[in-house]
Symmetry: C2
Subunit: 356 residues, 2 copies
C-alpha cells in the first residue's frame, strides 16, 4: 500500500441465503438512477436453472388459434420499448412486521430499478390469435424445485389476467441497462410487469400458455397471497399491485450525528400512478414537512428520489419518519396491514438517530 493506492470502500449485496440465493440490495448506498446489476437484489425460490441460449426457443400454446415458437432473434426484431421499472419483492421489509412473520427476513433492500428493454407481450400474443374464451396468460420459468410447505416439485409459474398481460408496458425483456439481462436476473428472457410486485416478473421464461380458466399454481394459490388472520385463511387476497411506499436512505438507523444541518434523503415508489407527495417527520409523527422530490426522476415506473434538509441543532434522540402519497391518494399507513406471510409491508419508514 503506497500513497497512490487508496483503498476503495464499496457496498455489497446483503446475503440472506445461498441455496437458493437470496440477497438484498444495499439500498441505503444506491445513489444512481438505476441499480448496476451486481447490486440488483437476488430472489430465488430454487437453485438456478440450467439452460442454454444456443438452443433457446419460446413457445406460446393454449387457448390460441396459432401456436407459435419464437426464436430469440425473432423476438429481438419485433418493435421494442425500454422502460424504467422498479422491481420490489412482495416480502420487502418483512422483518419489520410485528408480530414477526416467517420467511426470508428481508430488510428494506428487496427492491431495485433500472431500464428494461423488450417486446410487449401483447405483440407476441397478437401473432397467435387469442381464442374468444382466453382468460389468463401463464408464464412459466425454467426454475423448479420443492418448496417447504408445498407438496411436489413445481416450476415457478404465474398467470396474469388478460388485461394486464395485454397492457402495452407488460414486456418480454431481453436487456437490462442496455445489456443482455444478467443470467441471475432471468437471461435470456424475463417477463416485466410494471406496477406489480416482482413475483409476477417471471425469470428464465420457458413457455407461455394462454388458458381459458383460472390458473391455480402454488405461487399464486398458496404463496403470494395475503392472509390477514393468524389462525385462519379467511379473506385472503392475491398479491398484485405494489403498495405506495418509501425508504429513508440517509441517515442510517441508529446513527449518531453532530448537531447541525443534515440532509435526510430516500426513495419513494408506488404500483399505481405516480408519487405525488413525500412527507418527513423528525418528531415521531407529531409534525410533518414536505420533502423535495427530484423532478428528473419522475418518469416511467421508477422510484423518485427525495430529500429534506433537517436543522438538528438540539441534542437528543429523534425518530424520523417518511410517508409517501401517490396520485391515487394512497398514503403509507402508520402501521402496515399484518398478514401471515408478510407481504406488502408499507408502514411509514422509521429510523432513530441521536444528535450529540
Amino acid at each position: 500500500m503506497t500513497n497512490n493506492e487508496f483503498p476503495i470502500s464499496k457496498p455489497y449485496l446483503k446475503t440472506k441465503s445461498l441455496f437458493p440465493e437470496n440477497q438484498e440490495t444495499p439500498i441505503s448506498f444506491i445513489e444512481r438512477d438505476s441499480v448496476d446489476h451486481p447490486l440488483f437484489y437476488r430472489r430465488n425460490h430454487f437453485s438456478y436453472p440450467r439452460l442454454s441460449h444456443h438452443n433457446y426457443w419460446l413457445p406460446i400454446n393454449g387457448a390460441i388459434k396459432k401456436p407459435k415458437i419464437f426464436s430469440l432473434k425473432e423476438i429481438q426484431q419485433l418493435p421494442a420499448k425500454t422502460i424504467k421499472v422498479v422491481l420490489e419483492c412482495s416480502g420487502n421489509k418483512r422483518k419489520f412486521f410485528k408480530p414477526p412473520v416467517f420467511g426470508e427476513q428481508w430488510g428494506n433492500g428487496a427492491i431495485s430499478q433500472g431500464y428494461w428493454k423488450g417486446v410487449p407481450l401483447r405483440i407476441l400474443i397478437e401473432k397467435t390469435e387469442l381464442k374468444d374464451d382466453a382468460k389468463e396468460v401463464i408464464v412459466v420459468g425454467y426454475d423448479f424445485g420443492k418448496n417447504p410447505g408445498i407438496d411436489g416439485i413445481h416450476h415457478f409459474a404465474r398467470s396474469l389476467p388478460l388485461e394486464k398481460a395485454l397492457h402495452p408496458d407488460t414486456i418480454i425483456a431481453y436487456e437490462y441497462n442496455q445489456k443482455p439481462i444478467p443470467f441471475k436476473h432471468g437471461y435470456p428472457l424475463r417477463l416485466i410487469v410494471p406496477g406489480w410486485y416482482a413475483m409476477a416478473s417471471v425469470k428464465w421464461i420457458q413457455q407461455i400458455i394462454v388458458t381459458d380458466s383460472k390458473f391455480d399454481g402454488p405461487f399464486q394459490s398458496m404463496e403470494y397471497v395475503y392472509y390477514p388472520y393468524k389462525d385462519s385463511n379467511h379473506d385472503s387476497a392475491p398479491v398484485t399491485i405494489m403498495n405506495v411506499n418509501s425508504t429513508i436512505q440517509k441517515p442510517h438507523n441508529g446513527q449518531i450525528l453532530d448537531s447541525g444541518k443534515h440532509m435526510i434523503k430516500g426513495i419513494a415508489w408506488t404500483g399505481m400512478g405516480t408519487i405525488q407527495m413525500l412527507e418527513v417527520s423528525t418528531d415521531n409523527g407529531q409534525t410533518w414537512s414536505k420533502a423535495a422530490i427530484k423532478k428528473d426522476h419522475h418518469k416511467g415506473y421508477g422510484w423518485v428520489s427525495w430529500f429534506y434538509e433537517w436543522s438538528a441543532f438540539k441534542k437528543g434522540e429523534y425518530t424520523i419518519l417518511s410517508k409517501a402519497t401517490d396520485s391515487y391518494n394512497r398514503s403509507q399507513p402508520m402501521s402496515p396491514v399484518w398478514n401471515q406471510k408478510g407481504y406488502g409491508y408499507n408502514g411509514v419508514d422509521c429510523i432513530r438517530v441521536k444528535v450529540e
Copy 2:
C-alpha cells in the same frame, strides 16, 4: 450461459457504512476455521490512513531507558508466534439491545477469526528496558479524525496495562493467514490482544508509548466504556475482556423448514479460558440439551464450532436458543446487561423458525 457455466452464489460483507467503512462478516455462511480476509469484518472510526510501507518505522518511546525505532525487517527477524484469535467488535450484536442504543447497528457479524503471526510486544519492550514507574503501554494507530460527540481531532489510540502488554500472546502482528496483513486490517503492523474486544487490537501502528500514568484518550475514557444507566454515567467500567458468547449460524432466523431432522449449528467463544459447554433449547428455554463441540476447533483463542441434531417432526413455531459456558463458569445470561453505548451484548442467542 451454457450448461458448463453454472452461476456461483457467494456471501458478501454486510454494509453498515462506507465513510468510515463498517461492514459485517456474513457469519451464518462462514464454515471454515478461519475467515478469508475479503469476508473479515471491517470496523473503522475514520477514513483509511495514508501510509507507505517503503518508509515504515515503528518507534517506541516514553518511560523506557532505551528508546528505539524498529524497521519492519528487524521486527520480522525477531522470534515469532502464530496464534488463532477471535476478533470481536465490542458493538457486535448491538442491534439486539432493548431498549435500542445508538451507534453502528451491528448484527451478529462484527466478529471474525484467523491466524495472526507476529512478535510478542514483550520482546520489543524488553529491548527498550522499562523504567520502574512504567504503568501502561499506549499503541497509536495511523488513523485519525473527528468523532461525533468528541471534541477535536484524535488518532485512534489505546493503552494496555503492563501485565496485558507483556503477556506472551499479545503480539505485534504482520501476517494474517500466512500473508501480509491486508491493508484494511492494519498493514503493515497490527496489535493483537487475544481475549479482549477488538478495539484493543490497534491497526496501522504508528508508534508505541510507555507511560507512567493512566492514559485517558477518548477511545477508552469516553468510548468503549460500559455506562449501565441511561441518564447517568455512574458505575462506568472499561470494555476489556470478551464476554462468553455464541451465535446460531443455521438455521436462519425466520426460516421455514420441512418437518424432519435438522442440524442446528453455530459458534461459541469467550475472552477467558475456553468454552466448556454449549446448550441448545428448541422450546424457548424450558429445556436444554448439550450440543456437540468440534474437538479440532478447540485451540488457541479461536471460537469453537458446535452442532445439535434437532428432530423437528411436529409442525409449529419454535424459538431456538443457544447458551455457552466457559471454563471460568461464565454463562450467557437470558438478557444481556444493557448499557448506554451498547457494548458486550451476550444474551443467549435466539432465532425463531417455523416447521411446516
